[in-house]
Each structure stands twice: as C-alpha cells, then as structure tokens.
C-alpha cells in the first residue's frame, strides 16, 4: 500500500543472550496516531530506537518513510522527528536558540525559522518566553516545546517516547491537542505511553509483552476482544502474562 509509512517484518533486537525485541511485525498508515503500549522493559524504546535509525536491528526488516532501517538510516533521519524519554532540548540555550539550532540542522532557512518560530510560540502561549533559558521553564512547557521542535521541520513521522511522563492532566490534555493538530497536518504520530486514558486517544494500539506484540487493533476492538470496560483492563489482562521482570 502506498500510504503505509512504517512497515516492519519480524524486526528483532538481541543484546547478548537477551532478546529485547522479538520478531515484531506491524505497519502504520499515513496520518495515523499509533499507540505503542507495553509495561516497563517490554521493549518499546528499543523498537522505537531501531525505527529511528539509532539502533541497528539484529534481524528482520523495517522500512520507515520508504527507507530501510538497515542501510538507509541517514535517509530516514530526514523524514522523521523524535522526542525521547529524556528531555532533550538544551537547557542552557534559550527557547529561540533551541528552535533555531534544531531547525537549522534540518536545513531550514533562517528567514523561515524566524517567521515560523514566532507564529509557533504564539500558538503555544510562549510568545514572551522567546529569550528565556529552557532550563527555567516548567516541565509541561518544556514538553510542549520539545514536541513542537520535533515537528518544526514538518517530518512525515514523529516518534514520541513517553512524551507526557510526569506532566499534570491539564497539560497532558493540551499536549494531545498538539498531537491531533500534527496528525491533521498529515504527520504520522508514533507514540509510547503508560497512561491508558491516552491510549484511548490513539487510532490504533499495539500491546507489547516480553518483546513481542500480543495485540494490535483500535481501542474499541481491543476492548470488545478482551471483554473489558476500559483500556486499563485490557492492559492488565495482557501484562499479567509477562514472564520478564520489569526493570
């Protein structure tokens, strides 16, 4: 299919004798919000790092935006945005300096950066924080800023690794508004989370247990399949079967 942006085929990552990701196969469509769920240590971050070209797979194959993760990792990097679990803007640079730096290394012109960043900051309500050091912003604002920086260069796919960890419910809600906005603009969103209410916001969800995908469907279908009232229950039913200790 032409509008498939991520496709994996038995994608595997082995660290020594430990199989972190065990032959996962799935695909993600253009414009979709794809929830990637699993307990701590289920292998979500490892899988995501392989898709971003940060980690070389031990086996299987995957294409992201039409490029192979095995030998075209650098091409993939042009087409994706990434927001890691660790907050990863420079705390000792101002809001604007961060935007300019990350936009600049994706090859965006200075003039464009200037115009689009003021528009973006207005929208985020950070208009008068332009010259504030990022380190002194509250966490919720930092996360929103990090997301906006990750999609500033209009990537085809954005990968979010637990983007709302440690953030209050109101800010989380606002964060999801940003995600919907990006999705409306045609950006595919690949997101991991621990919050089951957030899982409900996704178009489709995969559940990872012990490195393998144990379920994959829309939230509604998953609930009926597991005869559960909400996503929490679905998660418990699946995660309880895990053999691996969470670490």
């Amino acid at each position: 299919m032409t509008d498939t942006v991520i496709q994996t085929e038995k994608l595997t990552k082995i660290f020594g004798s430990f199989t972190a990701v065990d032959a996962i196969t799935f695909d993600v469509k253009k414009g979709e919000i794809f929830g990637f769920l699993g307990a701590n240590g289920a292998g979500k971050t490892t899988a995501m790092r392989m898709l971003c070209g940060l980690s070389v797979p031990s086996g299987g194959e995957a294409t992201v935006a039409g490029f192979s993760v095995k030998n075209q990792a650098e091409q993939i990097k042009h087409s994706i945005g990434y927001m890691s679990q660790k907050f990863s803007l420079y705390e000792d640079l101002t809001v604007y300096e961060n935007i300019r730096f990350f936009a600049g290394i994706y090859g965006i012109e200075r003039k464009t950066i200037r115009a689009r960043s003021s528009e973006m900051l207005q929208r985020l309500g950070l208009g008068d924080q332009r010259n504030t050091l990022v380190g002194s912003l509250p966490l919720g604002w930092k996360q929103k800023l990090a997301f906006s920086v990750a999609i500033f260069h209009s990537p085809r796919i954005v990968f979010l690794d637990e983007p709302t960890g440690g953030v209050d419910p109101v800010t989380r809600r606002q964060f999801w508004d940003l995600i919907y906005e990006a999705s409306d603009n045609g950006i595919t969103v690949f997101v991991t989370t621990h919050y089951m209410d957030e899982a409900e916001y996704c178009n489709r969800i995969s559940m990872m247990v012990d490195g393998a995908i144990k379920a994959l469907d829309t939230p509604a279908n998953l609930k009926s399949q597991f005869q559960a009232n909400d996503m929490d229950e679905v998660f418990y039913r699946l995660a309880r079967r895990a053999k691996r200790k969470s670490y």
């Binding site: 971003c52 070209g53 940060l54 980690s55 070389v56 990792a73 650098e74 990097k77 042009h78 994706i80 990434y82 890691s84 660790k86 907050f87 990863s88 803007l89 420079y90 705390e91 000792d92 640079l93 300096e97 300019r100 730096f101 990350f102 600049g104 290394i105 994706y106 090859g107």
Partner: protein, 373 residues
C-alpha cells in the same frame, strides 16, 4: 557548511553562558603562568649548614667564612660534637653538616693533606645533590688558594692547567623562567584543549541531547568540527594571553623567532590535542569516566614530555615514550622558536610528526563516534 554554522552558533552560546568556563579561560593562563614558574625554580638557595669545628684554627675559620660568604648556605650552628651535628640532620634542621676534624690546620701544614667530612641529608634529593656539589666546589677553591699561598717550588707554577670558560647561549644568565615559561604555556593549552573537548561531548551524552543530535541527518564530521572549532579558538586565545601579555610583561620574554611560525605550529598542535579529547569522549559514557581517562593520559603526556626533566637523562624506553608524545614536540618547538629563533627548516620534521598525530587522533575519533549502535 550551513549546518556547521548553526552548530558553532550553538556551541559558542553555550560556552559564553557558562561563567565557570569563561573565568577559566581568562584566569587559568594568568594564574598558572604567575604561580608555576616562580615555584618551579630549581636553583637552590639557603641550604641549611651546620659546621662541626673540632679544630678552631685560623684555616678552619677561613674555610667556614668562605663557605658562608658564597650566599648559598645559611649557617645554622657551629658546634663541636659530631653527634650533635647528626641530630640536626635527623630533626631536619640541617641539610648539610661539614665536619672539620681536630688538628686540621696542624696536619694540613705538616702532612700537606687533610680531610673534611660532609654529611648530607638526602631526603630532598635535589637539594642534597646541589648542596653537596656547591660545597665541594667551595672546598676545591679553598684548596687552590692554599696551594697558591704555599707554592714552595717554582716548577709547580708552570704545571699545565686547563681552565674551562663556559658561555651559555640563548639564555646567558641561565634564567630558569625563560626556560620554564614556554613549557608551561604548552601545558596550559594542552590541559584546556583536552579536558574541555572531552567533557563537553560526554556531557551531551549524559544529559541525553546527543540522542537528539543522532536522530537528525547531521553528518558525523560536521558534528565533530562543530565541537573542535570552538575549543581550537579558545586554545589560541588562551595561548595568546599567556605569550603576548603574561610572558611578555611579567617575565620580559619576547619570542626571538617568528610569531607566525609559532602560531602555525600551535594551530596544528591544537588539532592533535583536541583530537585526543574527542577520542576519549567516544570511549566514555559519563563525565567522570572521561575525566579520569583524560587525567591519566595527560599525566603521562606531561611527565614524559621533557618539561620537568631532560629527555636525554631518561632511560631508552622512556625516551621512546617521549617520542610518541605530541607534548614533547610542542615543548621543543616552543623553546626553539621562543629562545633560539629557530626557523621553519629547523623544525620541519616537528611539523611532519604533528600532522601525523593530528590525523591519527581525529580519524580514530571520527571512526569511533557512532550515530547508531
């Protein structure tokens, strides 16, 4: 190219926002250049001397006068018993004890020869060595004077004698600082260059920002250049403060040779030494690791560089080590150009070696830096 400018812009913003680094850049060369050369002075003065004079004759008194008037010795006490003299050494109150035996004058006249004894406190090796040598020299002179005084036979007068007149080139007064300051300048840029580069990159690893960089299409050599250029500029700046301001106005050292040649070599040297910092950063995950690693390497580089001890007196294996050490070459170049005014043709082999070091450390580092793992 554009990417590189964005990278440099970011690095300089971060460096200039860091108050500690800024202070280090300005204050370190000034303070180190003021303190170290003053302290690293191998000329020995005020050697504590105790004289055990068991003779109390006029010759003995002449000898003691001659020693104390040389200016190198400080007479702590003049006593009679040897045991008491040795106690002075044990309590570290004396560096040298000179014993003039009883009947020194009488035997000297009667038997034409006599012995004096030296006890040297060798806890401080250098001081003991130099003190002993000074004292022997003074006694030797004294010996000559006595001979001249007696000179019984005219034939002795015509006995052949070789006198050595030495002339110290390039540093006529044997001023220790002229010799040390250029070396300490090398040490300074070496430390700043290697530590700052290594720590800077590893900090990005620790904070996690390097992951964000690795997920962008940034080229490896762009990233590496973006890290090297700022510290290269800082290295040049620190060196200039040291050479053109502190060395000139505080020590009156004006390079005899061509400044351009010196800076050319510095430029190359900085690339090599920043490459070492870079290399360390690719092997370490935390700032603590990189700190220990750089410290270890730099300790060896500096101690084996001929800055504090002369290369020629090292054992052969150590000389080999000194020859695979970039610091050695820069110290040689510094001393040659600053003191002697050497020209390019004299140090062309040094240039070649340094190009080798620069290529080795940087290619190794770029090769070892992985965007993916």
């Amino acid at each position: 190219m554009k990417t590189l400018i964005f990278l440099l812009e970011k690095e300089f913003h971060q460096i200039f926002r860091n108050a500690i680094i800024l202070r280090m850049i300005i204050l370190m060369p000034v303070i180190q250049l003021i303190v170290l050369p003053l302290a690293a002075d191998f000329e020995i003065k005020d050697i504590k001397l105790v004289v055990v004079d068991q003779d109390r004759s006029s010759y003995a008194r002449d000898l003691i006068n001659k020693i104390t008037s040389s200016g190198y010795f400080k007479l702590v006490d003049c006593i009679i018993s040897t045991e008491q003299g040795l106690e002075y050494i044990e309590s570290d109150e004396a560096d040298v004890v000179l014993e003039v035996p009883p009947r020194f004058e009488r035997d000297l006249i009667r038997e034409r020869q006599q012995e004096v004894y030296l006890y040297i406190n060798a806890i401080n090796g250098t001081k003991a060595n130099v003190g002993g040598a000074y004292l022997s020299q003074v006694i030797h002179d004294f010996n000559g004077e006595i001979r001249a005084e007696w000179r019984p036979l005219p034939s002795q007068r015509s006995s052949p004698k070789i006198e050595i007149v030495s002339n110290n080139w390039f540093n006529p007064l044997l001023n220790y600082r002229v010799f040390m300051v250029p070396g300490i300048l090398v040490l300074l840029v070496t430390m700043i260059g290697s530590f700052m580069t290594a720590l800077n990159i590893v900090k990005e690893k620790e904070v996690g920002t390097i992951e964000q960089i690795n997920v962008t299409p940034i080229k490896r050599h762009h990233f590496v250049l973006g890290k090297l250029i700022p510290f290269w500029v800082i290295g040049m700046f620190v060196f200039s403060i040291g050479l053109l301001i502190v060395a000139r106005f505080l020590y009156g050292i004006v390079p005899v040779g061509n400044l351009l040649l010196l800076y050319g070599y510095l430029a190359l040297y900085l690339v090599a030494i920043l490459g070492v910092g870079l290399l360390v950063s690719t092997y370490s995950q935390t700032q603590q690791q990189s700190m220990s690693l750089v410290f270890f390497i730099m300790m060896i580089f500096i101690l084996m560089s001929g800055l504090f001890s002369s290369l020629e007196s090292m054992p052969p294996w150590a000389q080999v080590m000194a020859r695979v050490n970039p610091v050695t070459y820069f110290i040689e170049v510094m001393r040659m150009v600053v003191m002697k005014g050497s020209e390019f043709k004299h140090i062309s082999s040094h240039f070649l070696v340094m190009i080798g070091f620069a290529l080795l450390s940087n290619f190794w580092a770029v090769f070892n830096y992985r965007k993916t793992n």
